[in-house]
């Protein structure tokens, strides 16, 4: 199971990084989303992978799942969800205002 999860996280990260480096904001957004999925899975796995382990203390139970990793990943999911929503709105606004959905700086922008 470890191998499977590791491959899954790796694939998600690779796809996320690839998409992040694309030019259009839509691909960048998808890349960010995939990357955050990968990170959430990773944080979840830091509590060690177990099947059927009890989440809280019960009499007669030997193995427990780590609840803290689950709490952390819950927070991370909420935050990354909110951030993704914000970025989507921002990208749409930029698309309409700038009439351009490229994430790269345009040539006429005199930022120097």
């Amino acid at each position: 199971m470890e191998l499977l999860v590791a491959i899954g996280i790796g694939t998600l990260t690779a796809a996320g990084v690839y998409l992040l480096l694309r030019e259009r904001t839509f691909s960048v957004l998808l890349g960010l989303t995939l990357l955050s999925y990968a990170v959430n899975l990773f944080v979840f796995a830091t509590g060690r992978l177990q099947v059927g382990a009890a989440p809280r203390i019960q009499p007669g139970v030997e193995t427990y799942a780590d609840p803290l990793a689950q709490a952390l990943v819950l927070t991370a999911i909420v935050i990354s969800f909110a951030m993704t929503a914000f970025t989507v709105v921002l990208a749409i606004a930029a698309r309409h205002r700038l009439d351009d959905d490229r994430a790269s700086p345009s040539a006429e922008q005199d930022d120097a």
Binding site: L20, T25, V28, L32, L35, S36, A38, V39, N40, F42, V43, A45, T46, G47, R48, L68, A69, L72, T75, A76, I79, S80, A82, M83, F86, T87, L90, A91, A93, A94, R97, L98, A103, P105, S106, Q109, D110, D111, A112
Partner: protein
């Protein structure tokens, strides 16, 4: 338990929530009064906390009365207290400037977002828990995204998109680092980590070391440390002047996090698990300084120049603070106080100059509108402060930096880069000053807007105080650096805090 410690987080949170709910109902005037009042009260609280921390013992606030490391602890020591006071003072000046310039009228929730930003900043400075630091980072970041976009001009939208994406990737790396540390040590409390990292088995060291370097990457991104600095100039120069002035503290959050986490968790006690901070950060900091200086020289707009000078000051602080010796950290902290205020002043002056020049904005082109004399004097003073011309605090800060780094093996490089970069900054700013204030149209300058100079005057007063009280401030910073290096007493204070097991 000292209940005051949580006040700098609670007060902005409550005010921001209230303003958020009431934002569409109450008038702008009410929002302004509330925002200014809350920030002034925050400054008072920060000063009370500074006074408490000056005693030399760490104050620990255990959230929910859970004993660390099981619960989250807020820790107030000298370093946190100084950063809180600096944040509140800077925020008050930035807010005064925003109200005087009408920037807060451009967005309905400006005041609410401003308070959320303060909540995130204060929380990041107070927390003693790595995951909690992540959460406060996100709070301050999302508020900063919205503040940056206030007024949503095309330039701001474009710069904002980059800023958001870069920081979201940074947050992902932060979570990976936090996850790695948790998987290896089973704790995220900084004091507990300081205990556990040195005890790790040899085969786990590599993972912890990679987590440490990932954290360095993330904090380096916030601090705009080379090579993660490209996002800063476009974002800061696109932001409205009061917002850019507030953002002067944002790079300092990264610097604070590097110093705090590295000295506490990956300090000398951590042995092989700790990658040497000096080996990496001193050269990177120096390259940042060079980059900032050259960027300032090449800038065609004053805002961009101010942003590059922000880079320069961040690099300066980091390259000296990364030496982690007592005198170096103490000097870097004094310079941090000074440079935050000085950069903020430069951004405010830049905003005021641009406002008069109409379509020319802050572009460094001749034949713009004439500028009033007080503004010119403020610009001159801000140049003296940023470059470090005697007798103001910029000079004292740079002298302290040179003195503090003199004993280090990298001293030659640090001295050469700091002195040369100051000179380059002087050339760039002098050229900008001549273009903006001397090569102007003959028409008389329009009168100053009411209250326009209030915020710059406040900042100048703060730096004058830093100059006059340099000796006590430096002594306080010496004590701060000593307390920061004393990881054992930090750990004991946090882990022995009262609370439910």
């Amino acid at each position: 338990m000292n209940q005051w410690i949580i006040a700098p987080v609670l007060l902005p949170a409550v005010v921001a929530g209230g303003l958020m709910l009431a934002g569409s109902v109450v008038t702008l005037r009410v929002q302004r009064v509330l925002g200014l009042l809350a920030t002034a009260v925050l400054l008072a609280i920060a000063l009370v906390l500074l006074d408490q921390a000056a005693g030399g013992s760490q104050g620990v606030y255990t959230l929910g009365h859970w004993r660390p490391p099981f619960g989250i602890a807020l820790v107030l020591d000298r370093l946190s207290a100084v950063m809180l006071a600096l944040t509140a003072a800077l925020a008050l000046c930035a807010l005064v400037a925003a109200v005087a310039g009408g920037v807060d009228a451009q967005g309905r929730y400006f005041h609410a977002l401003f308070q959320f930003q303060l909540m995130g900043l204060n929380g990041a400075f107070l927390t003693g828990d790595l995951f909690n630091l992540f959460v406060f980072f996100e709070v301050l970041l999302i508020a900063s995204y919205c503040l940056l976009l206030t007024g949503s001009t095309p330039a701001r939208l474009r710069a904002g998109l980059h800023y958001v994406v870069v920081n979201l990737v940074g947050s992902s790396l932060f979570l990976i680092a936090v996850g790695l540390l948790y998987a290896m040590t089973g704790t995220l409390n900084l004091a507990d980590l300081a205990h556990k990292v040195p005890l790790l088995a040899a085969e786990d060291r590599l993972l912890v070391e990679s987590a440490a370097l990932l954290l360095l990457t993330v904090f380096g991104l916030k601090a705009a440390l080379f090579p993660l600095l490209l996002w800063l100039p476009s974002a800061y120069s696109a932001a409205a002047a009061p917002v850019a002035a507030l953002f002067a503290i944002m790079t300092k959050v990264g610097i604070y996090s590097i110093v705090r986490v590295y000295v506490t968790v990956f300090g000398p006690a951590a042995g092989e698990a700790a990658p040497g901070l000096g080996d990496w950060v001193v050269p990177a900091g120096l390259i940042t300084v060079v980059w900032g200086a050259l960027g300032a020289l090449a800038s065609r707009r004053l805002g961009s120049m101010a942003a590059h000078l922000t880079l320069m000051s961040a690099g300066t602080i980091l390259s000296v603070a990364a030496l982690t010796t007592g005198p170096a950290v103490s000097a870097a902290l004094y310079y941090l106080l000074h440079s935050t205020l000085a950069t903020a002043l430069l951004f405010l002056v830049c905003g005021a100059v641009a406002e008069r020049r109409g379509a020319l904005g802050d572009r460094l082109q001749r034949a713009g509108a004439a500028q009033p004399v007080p503004l010119g004097i403020a610009f001159l003073l801000s140049v003296m402060l940023v470059v470090g011309i005697p007798p103001l605090s910029g000079f004292l800060g740079k002298a302290m930096l040179l003195q503090g780094s003199a004993a280090a093996p990298q001293a030659v490089a640090i001295w050469a880069v700091l002195l040369a970069s100051s000179f380059v900054a002087l050339i760039a700013l002098a050229r900008a000053g001549m273009t903006l204030f001397w090569a102007v149209r003959a028409a008389p300058a329009p009168p100053s807007r009411a209250g326009e100079m209030a915020a710059p005057m406040l900042l100048l007063a703060g730096m004058l105080a830093l100059t006059v009280a340099a000796e006590p401030v430096k002594r306080f910073m010496d004590a701060t650096a000593a307390q920061l290096g004393d990881v054992r007493s930090y750990s004991e204070a946090v882990l022995n805090a009262p609370g439910r097991p």
